[in-house]
């Protein structure tokens, strides 16, 4: 886009003939301010392009950010009508006819939830359990596998490696029905174990990412530890785990976010209201109370509550997360 503009401006404002009419002269002066035309200036042109770049980037950043702002603003609206007409800030706030509280909808949604048989804190606890227990244990098992793949020589290593690699090709939706049937035979769908146990065996992609990281570490560390008489478990727990921490942390945060946001998993595998995670409850509340004129902003408040922990985590660890994603990209 900028390039096209550049060419146009050049064509208009760089007449070669010595006798110049005032319009062309004016245009040339005008173009000169931006570094084009006869008084071409490289620094001015760079500033000009930079400004255009910033405008475009900021425009897209606005598109990315605005819905979140709208979400937060809408959760303070008085009712559905004033929520839907919100542009920057709702025309009527929840404070206006409901006896004061600015955070009215945040307490209201907890009331609606308990009317539907959910306890907000229990739901949050479920979500936290689902996204911490399998992630932490899964990270340890994944790092163990990564260590073996990267630094140990054992018979059948390549076969095992490709055995695990090939499993990536199996799409989740085509095995979810069989998984559900097995979990419900084991009664895991009634007590939340279906969301905890499978993750504890580690994730293939996590293991491969950490393996790539461990490849970069010098093998001499392990040799030295071996000579000093450390066993393999000592080497793993005392050397590899701390050294791989940056990669492990990055993968851990990404897995945590993935588990927190997981929707299809609990939709199938959790069949007991007591064990519902936030994602399911938000969706259920949306269908039950989302159309109600007084409760619609409350559902939005719950959506904000479900989103906030992840956004805070992302804000804290954005450098790690972005770095890890970009690393995956450059490896390909």
């Amino acid at each position: 886009m900028t390039e096209v503009f550049n060419q146009n401006v050049k064509a208009e404002s760089a007449p070669e003939e010595p006798k110049r009419n005032p319009i062309a002269k004016g245009l040339d002066t005008f173009a000169g301010w931006f570094g084009f035309g006869s008084k071409s200036s490289k620094t001015r042109r760079k500033v000009f392009y930079d400004v255009i770049t910033y405008i475009i980037l900021a425009f897209f950043a606005f598109i990315m950010i605005y819905p979140f702002w709208w979400m937060i603003a809408a959760s303070f609206a008085r009712n559905r009508a004033s929520m839907l007409t919100t542009v920057w800030w709702p025309s009527a706030l929840a404070t206006e006819n409901r006896g004061g509280s600015f955070f009215y909808h945040y307490s209201n949604i907890m009331r609606i939830m308990s009317n539907n048989g959910f306890n907000y804190w229990r739901v949050v606890l479920n979500t936290v359990i689902y996204s911490i227990v399998p992630v932490v244990i899964g990270l340890i098992t994944s790092t163990m596998a990564a260590f073996a793949f990267a630094k140990l020589n054992f018979k059948g290593k390549n076969i095992v490696f490709f055995y695990c690699l090939a499993a990536i090709m199996v799409p989740g939706p085509s095995i979810m029905i069989a998984q559900f049937c097995v979990y419900s035979e084991l009664n895991w769908t009634q007590n939340g174990l279906s969301m905890i146990i499978p993750g504890m065996f580690g994730a293939i992609m996590t293991a491969f990412f950490i393996r790539q990281f461990l490849y970069g570490l010098p093998t001499s560390i392990i040799e030295a530890a071996k000579i000093d008489g450390a066993g393999y478990w000592r080497i793993f727990w005392g050397f590899i785990m701390p050294l791989a921490m940056p990669a492990v942390m990055a993968q851990g945060i990404l897995s945590f976010i993935g588990c927190w946001n997981n929707y299809l998993g609990p939709l199938l595998f959790v069949r007991n209201n007591d064990w519902y995670p936030l994602a399911l409850v938000v969706s259920q509340m949306n269908t039950e109370a989302g159309e109600d004129t007084n409760n619609a902003p409350s559902v939005m408040a719950l959506a904000v509550l479900a989103l906030l922990p992840v956004l805070v985590l992302f804000a804290i660890f954005q450098k790690t997360i972005i770095g890890s994603i970009m690393l995956t990209g450059s490896k390909e």
Binding site: I56, F154, Y232
Partner: protein
Amino acid sequence: MEEQSVAQEQAGVQVAEEILFQPKKKRINRAVLMENLWGWFFVCFLVIGTTAFIYFAFVLSVWMSFTSYSSSSGTSLWEALGNIHSDGWYHWYQYMFSPEYSADGTLLTGTGINQRFWTTLLNSVIYMIGIPIGMAISLFLAVLMSRDIKGAGVFRVIYYIPTVSSVVSIAVLWNNLFGDSGIIVELFGTRFIGGSTWMQKITVVIMTTWKGLGGSVLLLCAGMNGVNASYHEAAEIDGANAWQIFWRITMPQLWPTIFYCIVTSVIGGMQIFAEPQLLYGNYPSQGANSASVDVTPFVGLIYGYYGLGNYALSSALGIVLAIIIFVLTLIQFALDKRRDS
């Protein structure tokens, strides 16, 4: 005589060597054994998990699709596996491709299983029109961010926010932004979620594109860093303009990243489920929250039959999905190989 003594000597040396080096050899063996044992111990959890939750589930899925197992069959899963469907193991595969007729002999358009199959599969493909659009936008943004400007990192973080946020929360938000009398609808003057089937689909496409943009921007930025700057400078000295540099220098070097992005998006796009389900509901319907077949993706159909309790049919549909994705992966490999050679 002499030869014999030489042979004897050699034999003696061999014996001596064997005796001398045996302990050392044994120690090496033990170290190798330990390394093998520990290696297997370290990978065993991942291998068990992969076997139990992926391969076993896949085999079970295939097997289940041969049976008539459903939530109303009243037997346990293991008993049901013993009974292959009475019309033959291929029953469900034949069923999903055979047109269905109502009692008076007219073809069921839209509601027959075969029509459902093709409609939902087509929907999944239609939902992918966001992929090229998203790629173009993220390529544009990545090129802009590759200029040495301050604050590119901040923009990268901002673009990635929708990707990490919960799809359910975003769906609630979309419901209100794009729903009737929502602010976007008022702004554009057309109905989105409440509008025609095409507008409903476009709403989903907007959502997936918006949500997925950050990931491809990041990957393309990473790819852009890998683009060799010296080619760029050489072209500049030779008098190439920015447009030429982009198409002749940047694009060829960036192509592997773009290809990777497209492949992963297509494979992921075939598995789209949450967005349309959250916005429009289930199909075939389960209770009040029911959608039209025209907006349901293929995985939505699998989930729909699961909701109706027909586990065998939904497993069969799942296997078909796995085959489709496998073929897509093969095409990807073939294209990748042709590009390399």
